[in-house]
């Protein structure tokens, strides 16, 4: 059964976001496997450059209008829904982001489609999409299928590879500016003071314990690794008590309970009230010079060694793979 796939691209007005390339990769492969078509949709104002880049991958629909300058769901979703209905797309894919969750979900609601969020795996089976996605705060993974068309997917970029696509052209989407709602005013966006994600929502948490004697030590090791991994930083109670870290960083029974995909415990012994706050993390790594530290009992991987030697090395190697 052939599929007409639309990939909703995200951009920064100059170029496509890397995550969208992964979403495209999936869309392209689904369409090829189902012998269907694939197109990219770019929305915004003065998005010529982005459209041009996208057209290097696929036929690109361009909705270019001052009314689309700001990412207002009320407006964008309406245009996206119109594009879907006009072109009869049956599969719409975007990278999982605050934009796509906000906008694409609304578009799905407008057309009455079926949606799966945060997809981490996709298999085409007898013309059907078998989707894998996390449930219960990521403790389990489910295989599921959407039961009607059009199907909407937001996908985790890290789970899918980009694809080369084909060189194609662009076509203009007529934006009926007069019909667009005007109920939401945009007052700008401020980059956050702390770049670090919230402890309880971060995918990766890097935590430090008693091995760190000063705030500088903590920030230089735990903080630095957290930043390199775009992770949240956490701490044991001992450091909070000693005034080395603020109370908000405490992970544990009387602090925060976290269950990220990856919890890295550095120089942290794993006292029982700390374990209570992180033992359900999906993957736990510990680095501690005491081979019998209780943290190893709840860890999946560990190194028995000195954090002051190992963390700088870990930091360098993580940074190296990012460049």
């Amino acid at each position: 059964m052939s599929k007409n796939v639309l990939i909703l691209a995200e951009h920064d007005d100059q170029s496509l976001k890397a995550a969208s390339l992964s979403a495209f990769g999936l869309g392209y492969r689904i369409s090829v496997e189902c012998e269907g078509t694939f197109q990219i949709l770019v929305l915004g104002n003065n998005v010529g450059d982005v459209a041009s880049e996208a057209s290097g991958l696929a036929p690109t629909l361009v909705a270019d209008s001052p009314k689309l300058e700001q990412p207002i769901a009320d407006v964008h979703a309406k245009v996206i829904a119109q594009v879907i209905e006009k072109n009869q797309f049956d599969t719409i894919i975007a990278a999982s982001s605050t934009y796509s969750k906000d906008v694409l979900s609304r578009a799905c609601g407008i057309v009455g489609g079926a949606m799966a969020s945060d997809v981490i795996g996709c298999e085409v089976k007898d013309g059907d999409l078998i989707l894998e996605r996390p449930l219960y705060a990521g403790s389990v993974t489910a295989k599921c299928r959407l039961l009607s068309d059009p199907k909407f997917l937001t996908v985790r970029a890290s789970a899918f590879e980009p694809a080369e696509g084909v060189e194609a052209g662009t076509s203009t989407v007529e934006v009926d500016e007069a019909s667009l709602p005007d109920r939401v005013e945009y007052h700008g966006v401020e980059t956050k003071a702390s770049a670090r994600p919230d402890l309880t929502e971060a995918k990766i948490v890097v935590s430090g314990g008693r091995a760190f004697k000063t705030t500088e030590d903590f920030e230089g090791h735990v903080g630095a690794l957290a930043d390199a991994l775009e992770a949240a930083a956490g701490s044991s109670r001992a450091l909070v008590d000693a005034g080395i870290t603020p109370n908000e960083l405490q992970v544990g029974q009387t602090g925060k309970v976290v269950a990220p995909e990856l919890y890295i415990a550095l120089g942290l012994s794993g006292a029982v009230q700390h374990l209570a706050g992180m033992k359900n993390s999906k993957v736990i790594v510990a680095i501690n010079k005491d081979a019998e530290a209780p943290i190893f009992e709840v860890s999946d991987y560990g190194i028995v060694g000195d954090v002051y030697k190992l963390v700088p090395e870990l930091l360098d190697k993580v940074k190296a793979t990012q460049t």
Binding site: D74, D102, M115, Y136, D300
Partner: protein, 250 residues
């Protein structure tokens, strides 16, 4: 003013979650159930709006589920909600059908604001609020970390990938709450007492005249083994390789 707070009853995901024996779901019979944390945050915010308003604000919670749901609805009343609506059904509804039910309730109650959690921690879809807004053709603001109502508008701050986004939207609107919006209260003793007398209006789902159309089917559920045995390695290189290739978390 009327604020509607849809709430979902979910298992406490801070507990150990295990796959059911038939592999199609999770074992819930030994799990404690709670108000979805994001919905508790939404309810808390509604209560704060009520406390800070010069005019009267009515806070109504809505729950869709079986009879066991009364417990969590009563907890919402004990936090301070004025009344609760229980749409009773044994069926587990997906976000699309939840939004269809909520649409009927909204049309009945005509609230000025629907304030709900951004997602439920059992299915983590982050869709129901947006579906509802679309079906009502109301403006929406998702993942808010701040809200202030003034002159029939909601001024909000949203947590986005780019930073804190500021929006003003006309009411009525559908707004979904993110983690940093507030820290929900516990029920006070006087409010637990008062809650016993507050009404929970129970309506059978079948009375709403909605056609339930499932949009998603779960085929199977898997969880990683709960028995951890620590693989100790000697070098950073070995660790990174394992985290990348085996655990696939980096």
């Amino acid at each position: 003013m009327k604020i509607l707070v849809p709430t979902k009853r979910v298992p406490d995901t801070d507990q150990k979650i295990k796959v059911s024996s038939d592999g199609t779901g999770v074992q819930t019979n030994t799990l404690p159930f709670i108000i979805n944390p994001f919905d508790a945050i939404a309810l808390e915010e509604a209560l704060r709006i009520q406390e800070g308003a010069s005019d009267e604000v009515e806070v109504i919670t809505v729950g869709i589920g079986n009879d066991e749901y009364e417990k969590e609805l009563r907890a919402g009343l004990a936090m301070g909600a004025d009344r609760a609506i229980h749409v009773s059904t044994d069926e587990l509804l997906d976000p699309w059908n939840v939004s269809k039910v909520l649409k009927v309730i909204v049309e009945k109650e005509a609230p000025d604001l629907v304030l709900m959690g951004k997602q439920a921690v059992d299915d983590d879809s982050n869709q129901a609020g947006q579906f509802l807004a679309a079906q009502l053709d109301w403006p929406q603001a998702t993942f808010i970390s701040k809200i202030e109502l003034a002159d029939s508008k909601a001024n909000v701050e949203r947590e986005t990938d780019l930073g804190i986004e500021k929006l003003s939207l006309n009411l009525p609107a559908v707004i979904t709450a993110d983690l940093r919006l507030n820290e929900p209260r516990y029920a006070s003793l006087p409010n637990i007492m008062k809650a016993k007398k507050k009404p929970i209006d129970s309506i059978p789902l079948t009375d709403l005249g909605i056609e339930i159309e499932p949009k998603i089917e779960i085929i199977s559920v898997e969880a990683p083994s709960s028995i951890r045995s620590c693989k100790k390695v000697e070098t950073v290189d070995e660790l990174l390789t394992l985290l990348r290739d085996e655990a696939k978390v980096l």
